[in-house]
Each structure stands twice: as structure tokens, then as C-alpha cells.
Assembly symmetry: C2
Homo-oligomer: 339 residues x 2
Amino acid sequence: MTTIKEIAKLAGVSRSTVSRVINNDPNVNHRTREKVQSIIDELDYQPNPVARSLMGGRSRVIGLVIPMVFSNLFTDPFFSLLAQGISSTCTTNNYTLMLWLIEPDYEKRANSNILRNRLIDGIIVASNMIDDPLIEGLVTRKVPIVQIGRNNCPEVSSVDADNIHGSAMAVRHLVNIGRKKLATITGQMDRYSGRDRLVGFKRGLQENDLPILDERIAFGDFTEDGGYLQTKVLLQRTTFDGLYVASDMMSFGAIRALQEAGLRIPDDVALVSFDDIPASARYQPPLTTIRQPIHQIGSIAAQTLIDQLESNDTATPRRIILPTELIIRKTTLQPVLSG
Amino acid sequence: MTTIKEIAKLAGVSRSTVSRVINNDPNVNHRTREKVQSIIDELDYQPNPVARSLMGGRSRVIGLVIPMVFSNLFTDPFFSLLAQGISSTCTTNNYTLMLWLIEPDYEKRANSNILRNRLIDGIIVASNMIDDPLIEGLVTRKVPIVQIGRNNCPEVSSVDADNIHGSAMAVRHLVNIGRKKLATITGQMDRYSGRDRLVGFKRGLQENDLPILDERIAFGDFTEDGGYLQTKVLLQRTTFDGLYVASDMMSFGAIRALQEAGLRIPDDVALVSFDDIPASARYQPPLTTIRQPIHQIGSIAAQTLIDQLESNDTATPRRIILPTELIIRKTTLQPVLSG
DNA sequence: CTGAAAGCGCTAACAA
DNA sequence: TTGTTAGCGCTTTCAG
């Protein structure tokens, strides 16, 4: 492999000078710079990032941590889309990506590995856990960090979908098509995504002057089985003609439960769910969903981190919230125009 | 951060001795080893992989390269499952993962970055392109490599699903349920996965004494639109009561075309497709598929690479082929028992 | 403006 | 069995 030494020899200068050329140090003679540069170009030389980061300099490597809570990832392309968005931005900016997929069983070990890693310049953590110990550890060690999802650390940058407005939008849609008795199945309450989607549901009810009834709120866990179970609970406990489900996966279970109860969708119960995963695009009955821009979230997260690194300003956190989109798939009901 | 120097000082030995303890060099006194080890444990010290790899030693970092040909990855959890399998094995063996998702537009640039990377000990490439230039470059530079998918380089290790047998199995199933006029839609012929699935289809026909008719072979491209188009082509050109589609995504398009032609599935045309992506599990009509063990492929690929690295034997390639599974989802037809 | 020298954390060859 | 020394490729003082 070509090293700085060879370039120096060929150019007839010292290694320091070559280093200066590489790093755009202004203190280099015009002619010297050109000569060195031409040899660098000719040999297609690039400095060894490993040596650079050993110096404590920038390695141009950033980390991506995705906790694999439950096995959602098996069916949910969240990870693919996110990684794609991040990777794409990294490529554009000449960064490489270090990936950790954390399995619950190995969480502690993985976290300690990540914290001990000396290579990365910064890290993106896709965590929606409230008070994630990894985030706290990273903050303590002053690793530049961008979180995917919301957090309560004011010093941590974050990029998140607008769960609250998205959920309120779902309610608005159900009201628009004439539904008044709305129920919801939530995600876990120890995640911001779970909490915020419930907050949005309630806000949507308020905006439409509908009552918030505890009996119409069932607490799920973002899994298909959870959706099935909690729908049964709702059916026993209350009546409803509109159902907002906090994730597509749960809605698959919910639909099963509704159909078993002999209810037609959307005639008897209209449904909106959050996420818009690809499987929901082909689902029967047609699903109306709230789509989050996962790819975009990824690329913005990466860009945010890279900006912080390059500006050397990791102290000023940025908190970005991206809008969601209502995806209406053909329903058999005519929307009722309302105020 | 803790360094080997501090450990040495605290243990009252030289850095070399600490290094020997870390690397399990037998030439260390029992008592010395214990003492050093206890300090290492106490301080939760881990050697800096960056320094290690600068030495040309082992960094315990391996690369994972996934080319994002077309946008299949958006809907196909192939990537998630594969990454999961690989990541899991890495964690178990104390390796970390460097990820490159290669977008077609940036392929050359990304390849050159990968090739120039000095950090990784070895690399896993999920490429099904025939004569992939990246693979050739890596071989030239003697980077230890395991390919996901088949290849024609005898010196490269590979892990692949058994596309040939899987496809023959699909044919056998169609024959078992009484179909005799079988057609297929293939993948691209510049990929082994495309070729092998066609080979398997033909082999299946031969095994069942059915003729191989060119008019019943339509060349697709692993996309939904391709499946739709090629089914139209088949419908115009020939008749068939069984269709083997080389990927689930294509089968979604194929079903659309069949339904538009007024054909019932599986009554008029029975269908089997390769992959068994999650979306196909919920599809209507129920899909019968050939499932490839993607998660397992990933973890075996990682294990193969790590074994090669740790045994220092990167010269002896391993070629592993993993069996596929026929997933039958309720069809309305009774299987006919056959020899 | 340029070069010599030191050092990042670690391992490996050589001495003791 | 252990310590000393040199060096991986690079950047960064410090002299010149």
C-alpha cells in the first residue's frame, strides 16, 4: 500500500510537507503543493485512516447502534431504510459506518464494547427507550451523538418523526370519514414513540371535541399478538367505530380480532395505523396509515452528526422533528367533508 | 482512556508482558498472568483496536458490503435478516462490523474506499453479480473474504442457499398437486441466483419427465414490474397451469397479471415463488414459497470468516450451501400423492 | 516555507 | 520468563 513516505520520496520532499498538502495547510509553496499533489493523484493515494485516528485525529468513521427489541426487525424494514439513509449520507461525505445491532441478551456487553471503542468520531443511536443507559454512557464520555427518536437529555441531538401530529392526523381522518367513537391501541409506555402516539391520539380527540375515555385506550406493545389481544379487550369493554393503532404490525393482529368478531372493515370499524411498512401496502383490507420518512430521518441524522463533527461544535444540540404523511388506501366509504 | 502502559505500571511489569497476557502468549508466568489479568479486569481495559490494526495485526473488525441493486431492499428484509445473523455472530466472537451499503451510482467510489480501507481483518460481500469487480479487487489484495452467494473464483469462500435444489423442489410440489404444464419467470442471468433458479427449474422438469419448453421460460429481473410484464408475455405465448417465479416480489406482479387475465389462483394456475419474504406470509391468495435461511446464512458466513482469520488459514476456501424449505400455505387443492 | 523528531497504543524481534 | 527497542502511518511541535 502506498504510504506518505513513498509520496515524499517521489516528490523529493519530507513527509511533513506531504502531510501539509493533504491537510490543506496554507504554509506550503505553490509549486511544491502542485508537485506533491500530482504524485498523490497519480498514485491514487489516500492517507490511512487508522493511523490518523491513532493520532487522536478524525477517523471519519461513525457508529450506528440499533437495539433489536423483540423481533420486529424481522418483518419491519425500519432498519433497512434507516441504514440506507445513513449510509448514503456517509458515502457522500466520505465517512464509513460501524454497525452494532444489539440483541437484548447481549445488551450490557455490547454497550461496553461500544463505549470502549476508540475508532469512531461520533455515533447515531436508534433508541426509543426512555433513559437508555447507552445514551447516558455516551454522554458521560462526551462521544458526539445523535439519537433517532426523542429523548429527555437536553444536551443530546435528536431526529424524530412527528408522532404527536401524525397521530392527531389519524384521528382527524377518522373523524372526517364520519367516525365519532374512537378507540386506540398504544405501544409501550416506556418508549417515547409509544407515549407520543397516545398523546397525539388524545390531542386529536380534543381538537375534534370528542371525549377521552379510558375504556377506549388499550395498552399494547407494538407486536401483532399485542394488537390482537388488546383489540379483544377493547371489544369486550367498549364500543367503537374507529380504531387508531400505534403500529402497522399491531394492526395486523387487530384486524384478525375484528374479523373474528364478525366486524367489517372499514364499514363497522375504520382503521388507521402508524408506520406504513411495506407489508401494509399489500394488505387486505386496504390499510390507511401514517407514514414516517425513515430514510430521510436516517440521512438527516447522519448529516447532523457530520456537521457537528466538522464544525467541531458538539456542544450545541439540534433537535429535529420531521413531518409524517397520511396514506389513504381506497376505502369503501365516502369521506364526509367536515370543518 | 486506559492504555497498556497504565496496566503495565499498575502491575509492575513491562508493556510487553501485558501484551502477552492479552494475547494468551504461553510464555508468561502463572502468577504474573493472574496479577496482570486482575488489573485488566478491574479497569475493564480493552486494547485499542486502532493501534492493533496499525501494526498490521488483528483489529477484530470485519466489513460487510451489501450492494443495493435496484430498490429491493426497501421492501425486502433480506438485508435486516442477513445483518442480524452476521452481527450476532460478531458479537459472540467479539468482533465489530463495518457496514457499506453500496448504491449503484457510487459503486466505483465505494469500492475504492473499501479496497483502501486498512482497518478490517476480513470482509463479507453479499454479491450475486457474476464477476463482481469488488470481489476481484479484494482477491488481488488478498483480503480474507466470504461471499454471500455463489461465485466462480475457486479461491473465495462462499455461503449460499441451495437455489438449484430449492427450485427443483418447487417444481416437484407443482407436479405433486397435479400440474404438468409448468412455466417460470427467472431473475437476471448475470446473477448466479438468477441462473441457478432456472437451472433448478429445468432439473425439476427433467426429474419429472416433463419437457423443457423455451416458450414457457420468461426472463425477469427480480422486480414486481418485471413479474407482471413477463407473466403477460407468458400468457400471450403459451399455456400453463403451474408457475414457478424466481422471487416473491416478482410473484406479486405475476399474480396481478394473472388476475387481470381472469385466472384463478391456484385453481387455474398454481404458483410457487422463491424467497419467502414476510410480506408473502400475509398475501392473498396464500403463497407457497421456497424459504431461504437468510439469518443462518449470515451467521454462518461470519463464522466462516472468523474461523479463517483466527486459524490464519485464509488460503483454504470453504463453500457452503444451505438447504431451503418448502413453505406451503393453505391451497384449495388437495395434493395428489405421487411417486 | 520546510525538515527533523517525537509520539499516538500496540506488537514482535531481540536481549537478557 | 521478562524487558528493551523499534516501528506500523500519520500529524504536530519545534527548529531552521
